[in-house]
């Protein structure tokens, strides 16, 4: 499979990176950011929305920094599992991503900004041409969505990153940097419904780092991932639950791989956490979370199954952190 041609830019500082991005924007040239490349490179080889320019974040010092509370976007997933200062929940989640080989290249930023995935989209160019393209990669044809036909306003491709629900549950913030300067927002506000839009990144903006709040290490967490194989596979469903042990008011649950974005389930948790009853609430809450997700048929396992098991994954995550 031949990589389509592109120009690779190697900025050495944040300013330089932003400068290149601004210049390309001015010239109306399309570009992508690349960190580890484990998502972008296969997509390019499949000619899924390849761009003429790619800007690598690899040489930017701030992006490569890692501390207890701040993790640069270029941090390798394998680093998360070996550095002893990383939050145990993040270690757990990172160790379940893809394969050990992929984790040596794949990065935190790349995982959080992962492109959404779909059976009708993650295919070669010939394949997509034969279905007359799809809404997400329509090649200018205005093609319809192939998962839910007769609507071409929303892309329902699935977000299948593993780190996001865990960082979200821990209240992480992300620093975004671009031509208009730097801004820091909650990770849960970062994602934006629609498989094409995916997140709030503005043109020329990239995620520099993710930071945890000061009390993050007071939280116990558990991440439950459904996948067919214990290596390689993206999550088919993922549930993360955290709390400060014994304090039901601190309970937080987030999910991934069920919709176009990962999301927190504050309203369901809020409904039950205040009047927790051992043994019964856990089932009610798990069921409420199951009802709140709407997976569609575009990954390896059927959506009704993925939805059903959300209940079990939630229950297991809660039990794991002693919240029963």
């Amino acid at each position: 499979m031949l990589m389509p041609p592109f120009t690779l830019h190697h900025p050495n500082t944040v300013d330089e990176a932003v400068g290149i991005a601004s210049q390309l924007l001015e010239q109306q040239e399309d570009f992508d950011w690349v960190a580890g490349g484990t998502d972008v490179v296969p997509n390019y080889k499949w000619r899924i929305n390849p761009k003429p320019h790619v800007i690598s974040l690899a040489n930017i010092p701030e992006a490569n920094q890692i501390s207890q509370y701040e993790i640069g976007c270029m941090t390798k997933l394998s680093q998360l599992t070996t550095e002893n200062k990383v939050h145990p929940l993040i270690v757990e989640a990172a160790s379940k991503i893809a394969s050990s080989l992929v984790r040596k290249s794949a990065t935190v930023g790349g995982n959080l900004c992962l492109d959404t995935r779909c059976f009708w989209y993650n295919q070669s160019e010939d394949w997509r041409r034969s279905i007359d393209w799809c809404h997400k990669a329509d090649c200018g044809t205005g093609a319809d969505c192939r998962v839910i036909p007769n609507q071409n306003t929303l892309c329902v491709a699935t977000y299948q990153g593993d780190l996001a629900p865990n960082f979200m549950a821990l209240g992480a913030k992300v620093s975004l940097i671009g031509p208009d300067g730097e801004r820091t927002i909650l990770l849960e506000d970062f994602y934006q419904l629609d498989g094409m839009k995916k997140n709030v990144l503005q043109p020329g903006e990239f995620m520099l780092k993710v930071s945890l709040p000061a009390d993050a290490f007071e939280y116990d967490g558990s991440y439950q991932k459904l996948r067919l194989r214990e290596s390689w596979d993206f999550p088919e469903a993922g549930i993360s639950a955290v709390w400060k042990k014994g304090d039901y008011s601190t309970l937080k649950i987030a999910s991934t791989a069920l919709e176009s974005i990962p999301k927190t389930h504050d309203s369901q948790v809020g409904e039950f956490a205040s009047s927790w009853q051992n043994g019964t609430t856990i089932s009610q809450l798990s069921d409420a979370i199951r009802k709140s997700v709407k997976p569609v048929n575009n990954t390896a396992l059927p959506p009704n199954y993925r939805k059903s098991v959300v209940r079990i994954l939630t229950k297991r995550a809660l039990k794991n952190i002693g919240c029963e």
Binding site: M1, L2, P5, S99, F119, W120, N122, Q123, S124, D126, W127, R129, S130, I131, R146, L226, L228, R229, E230, S231, W232, D233, A300, L301, P302, N304, Y305, S308, V309, I312
Partner: protein, 933 residues
């Protein structure tokens, strides 16, 4: 020779540690010093059979090849002779071939499932700078196919395309980028036709069948082949004591080999085609190239590169091989075509997606009174091996059990999907799974142990199956006993807690197809091997056997080394080129070790005779009194009287030079005379029994196979290491099919997972702990007793896992693969039917032996004695399927019972009750309908 010349690198020191004279200045090694060891090795009595005075135990009796055993390599675990090349990255696979001035070929593939090509305009392609040549279906009108009876493929679509990804045209260019760009410049006018995806719809009449067979076409359906077979006494199935009836739906699976298809074609300066391709069956490619290109076979040299996994998926002659040759002929330059993974799935030839229905019955003494099998298999767009697959789905279920009757209806239909074909365990795997699970169910109804049910119904060694297959050696009983003991079955079966389960399955497979499909077996052999021994003592073996990783080159080298008592590094196998290799049918139907090694033994015996005669001349002792041992021949009663191998060899070479011998193998006449009798016929059969343990996540439906005890009867393990590798590899491949692998076709008929991320081959984490157990039943016709070990071991893993899942959760699954959603659904259904709140409260099955258990155990014990005597040929009486039901084996069965059937077409009154595939028999051929076109 100049003084400083060294024959071998290294070892320049003038001192030897053993103090002997330094060969130093001698340019060639002294006589008898071939190989890496300086002195003759002792005879290794541990690897010389008891029957000829050695210490190798022979529980299954002696073998005709025992007298030529030298204790050199047979039975020893050796690394494969090509392993160094592979582990150091020096093996040359298809895409490693780089010829000077090469061009890159790309194939234009159909974007439609089914369409007529009204016109192709290539002018824009040809105008693109860098494009060298373009070809379309018009450049190669001749059809080809792997089976002579079904040549339905073309290099590129001639009139219509039959599945998405079907070949339309091809182009070669200076670079890959230009070739890719060129593909977008073809102007094609299509007439899109109504596709068929559902195999059940393939049985219906349509306006435009995918292929047209003229007067043989079945009405206007898409049925490519239908089979009917009925044998035995059908009255036995009435009033059964136990019965199982299961309808299975099995998804298609792909071989998932590592190396994608790749080919390099080059017309050399003499105008001969040199074609490099990773082929399992180079000879068929050779034939097909000749047909398609209209060039005599002797003007084509097919060079088999190393094959990065085949498993049946590289055994058809492929259209891209034709494309490369056509483009190369047009351009006058070498053309290299390498597939993307997606193209690998589009050419497919994987296991057929199937609907299989199995009804079976047992009588009041626990005998299997009937197997009734119906198999509708989805062939995709082309015939490939499908003609054979249609038979195998039925006939390979006729053993290892003795049956009262056998009824099979099968049909293979064309659909607008990539073609199915042969895959490891060809045609036998799906039905085997259904049959073995049915037996488990019947055992449960009879309240008996399923292993005892099997043990009490096995065909003995040296017997005939109900359809007339000749069974020789048979290690089925021992295999079952071994896995029962190894797994501690009696302590676990039906006694494990919810979520944990143990299950058993058996297998039966051919060891070489009895019929060489391209020629008359009575006139030509199956396999031929040439051996040449030159003055240096090295032995060059020419064989056409295609090593696809299974170790056929090693097997051939081993048997030659064994016969000639030479270190294996003195045997050089040359098997890559059709120019130098004698014709061989290739690596399919698990034939290579059986047939090629037999041919190699014959050739080696001829050389052996010449050398021994020379030694006779020198020593004055008759060859019968001479011992052939490691590079030395000596007098049996006084080892000090002897001669080196080289000296004897040189004596033998006097006047004629290099020694040359040719050996061939042909199978004995065997089998019945009914239509289709040759399908499934083999000179020997392998048997296997597995016990699998699973761990089911009852809430999520995830199944993990944790332990497998895998016993396989390979006759004689020529190389136990290689046999174990095959067993473990088979387990892995079968596990994929039973737990996670499937080719997913979406609602538009597109293959949705043509890549290795979404096509779920088990990873190392999913691999159970496999205990390979080798059973040696010593086949009378196998080389040193060997039978196949490459395909048969795959069969039992599927039913063993399905049965284990039942043991774990009490739900019978009949949809493969057992992905968690399927298992979850089954468990939920059961939970709801039992009105339980939580699936963790499910009861799992338990067993209390019923009265039948004793009957079966007694019969099994009796049969054990019978089988042992037959295996060791202490009892040579005639045995045919039916003896268990009281028939006399010496009188034709049809003379003993009125209702004894032997039919290959249904009676008119049967038509109404035939199964799904059987419905194909409701249609008439064009000829029967009075049309002759």
């Amino acid at each position: 020779m100049s003084a400083g010349y060294r024959q071998q690198p290294g070892n320049r020191s003038s001192k030897r540690t053993d103090g002997k004279r330094v060969a130093g200045k001698q340019v060639f090694p002294p006589p008898g010093s071939g190989g890496s060891r300086p002195v003759m090795k002792e005879r290794d009595l541990d690897f010389i059979p008891e029957s000829v005075g050695g210490k190798e135990p022979q529980p299954a009796g002696s073998h005709i090849h025992d007298r030529i055993r030298t204790g050199t390599v047979v039975g020893k675990s050796l690394s494969l002779v090509d392993s160094n090349a592979k582990v150091t990255g020096q093996a040359w696979y298809g895409d490693d071939v780089r010829l000077p001035n090469e061009t890159i070929g790309k194939i234009l593939r159909s974007p439609h499932h089914y369409a007529k090509i009204k016109s192709i305009d290539t002018s824009r392609v040809e105008a693109l700078p860098g494009v060298i040549s373009v070809a379309t279906g018009q450049d190669a009108a001749n059809s080809f196919g792997v089976l002579p009876v079904t040549k339905d493929e073309h290099a590129m679509a001639v009139e219509k395309v039959r599945h998405m990804g079907d070949l339309v045209a091809c182009v070669c260019a200076e670079t890959e980028a230009i070739a890719i760009e060129a593909l977008s410049l073809f102007d094609i006018e299509w007439e899109v036709l109504e596709p068929v995806f559902d195999r059940k719809m393939g049985l219906e009449d349509v306006d435009e069948p995918i292929h047209w067979r003229g007067k043989y076409h079945l009405s206007r359906t898409n049925v490519q082949k239908r089979v009917f077979q009925e044998f035995g006494d059908r009255s036995l199935v009435d009033n059964p004591h136990a019965a199982s009836h299961g309808k299975w739906s099995m998804e298609g699976v792909h071989h998932g080999f590592t190396e994608p298809h790749a080919v390099v074609a080059h017309w050399d300066p003499n105008g001969r085609l040199q074609l490099y391709t990773p082929q399992q069956v180079p000879h068929y490619t050779h034939r097909a190239l000749s047909t398609v290109l209209d060039v005599p076979m002797h003007q084509i040299n097919v060079i088999r590169t190393f094959v990065g996994g085949g498993f049946g998926g590289k055994s058809d002659p492929f259209p891209h091989e034709m494309c490369a040759a056509i483009l190369s002929r047009k351009s006058g330059r070498p053309v290299r075509i390498t597939f993307d993974r997606e193209e690998v799935y589009w050419i497919n030839r994987g296991r057929h997606p199937s609907d299989i229905e199995v009804k079976m019955t047992a009588d009041d003494v626990g005998r299997i009174s009937g197997f009734d099998i119906d198999a509708l298999i989805d062939g995709g767009g082309f015939a490939s091996f499908g003609h054979v697959t249609s038979y195998y789905n039925g006939v390979l279920a006729t053993a290892p059990y003795e049956l009262g009757s056998f009824h099979y209806t099968g049909a293979r239909v064309w659909t607008n999907k990539p073609a199915s074909g042969a895959m490891r365990g060809h045609g036998a795997v799906n039905t085997r799974c259904a049959v073995e699970v049915g037996l488990d169910e019947m055992a449960e109804q009879m309240a008996v142990d399923p292993i005892d049910l099997r043990l009490a119904n096995l065909l003995p060694p040296h017997s005939r199956t109900i359809t007339g297959f000749r069974i020789t050696s048979n290690g089925m009983r021992e295999a079952l006993e071994e896995v029962r003991d190894g797994s501690k079955w009696d302590e676990k079966f039906r006694q494990l807690p919810l979520g944990k389960g143990i299950g058993v399955g058996c297998g039966f497979f051919i060891s070489g197809s009895g019929l060489p499909i391209h020629w008359d077996p009575n006139r030509f052999p199956h396999a031929t091997v040439h051996i040449q021994v030159d003055m240096d003592g090295g032995v060059t073996v020419h064989t056409g056997a295609a090593d696809i990783g299974q170790g056929s080159t090693t097997a051939v080298a081993q048997v030659v080394a064994e016969v000639l008592a030479l270190p294996i590094e003195m045997i050089h196998v040359r098997s890559h080129e059709s120019d130098t290799a004698p014709v061989d049918l290739g690596s399919y139907s698990s034939r290579v070790t059986f047939m090629n090694a037999n041919a190699a033994i014959r050739a080696a015996l001829e050389i052996r005779e010449q050398i021994l005669n020379a030694a006779w001349d020198i020593l004055g002792y008759h060859p019968n009194t001479l011992v052939l041992n490691d590079r030395r021949i000596y007098y049996k009663h006084d080892p000090s009287i002897g001669v080196s191998y080289l000296k004897a060899l040189h004596k033998a070479q006097e006047d004629k030079g290099s020694l040359i011998a040719s050996g061939a193998y042909r199978s004995p006449p065997m089998g019945g005379v009914h239509k289709g009798a040759a399908a499934g016929l083999a000179p020997a059969y392998s048997f296997s029994a597995y016990v699998a343990e699973v761990d089911v996540d009852v809430e999520l439906g995830l199944v993990k196979c944790t332990n497998v005890w895998a016993a396989h009867d390979c006759g004689k393990a020529l190389n136990p290491l290689a046999v174990k590798g095959q067993i473990i590899g088979s387990c892995h491949m079968g596990l994929g099919q039973v737990l996670s692998e499937k080719m997913v076709y979406g609602r538009t008929g597109h293959l949705q997972n043509a890549n290795l991320l979404e096509y779920k081959i088990p990873s190392v984490h999913e691999m159970p702990h496999v205990v390979p157990i080798i059973i040696e039943s010593c086949d009378p016709e196998g080389p040193f007793g060997a039978k196949e070990a490459g395909e048969g071991p795959l069969l039992p893993i599927l039913p063993a896992v399905v049965n284990a899942v039942y043991d774990a959760v009490g739900v019978r699954f009949r949809d493969l693969p057992l992905t968690p959603d399927i298992v979850y659904k089954g468990i939920e259904r059961k939970r709801k039917s039992l009105k339980l709140d939580d699936c963790l409260e499910l009861p799992n099955p338990r067993l209390e032996h019923g009265p039948m258990q004793e009957v079966l155990v007694a019969r099994a014990n009796e049969h054990k004695t019978r089988d042992k005597a037959r295996q060791r040929t202490e009892d040579t009486s005639h045995y045919v399927n039916g003896v268990l039901f009281g028939f006399d084996p010496n009188i034709p069965l049809e003379d003993q019972v009125d209702g004894w059937r032997m039919a290959t077409e249904p009676d008119p009154e049967q038509l109404a009750e035939l199964g799904l595939a059987g419905k194909a028999w409701l249609k008439k051929t064009q000829r029967e309908m009075g049309r002759d076109d």
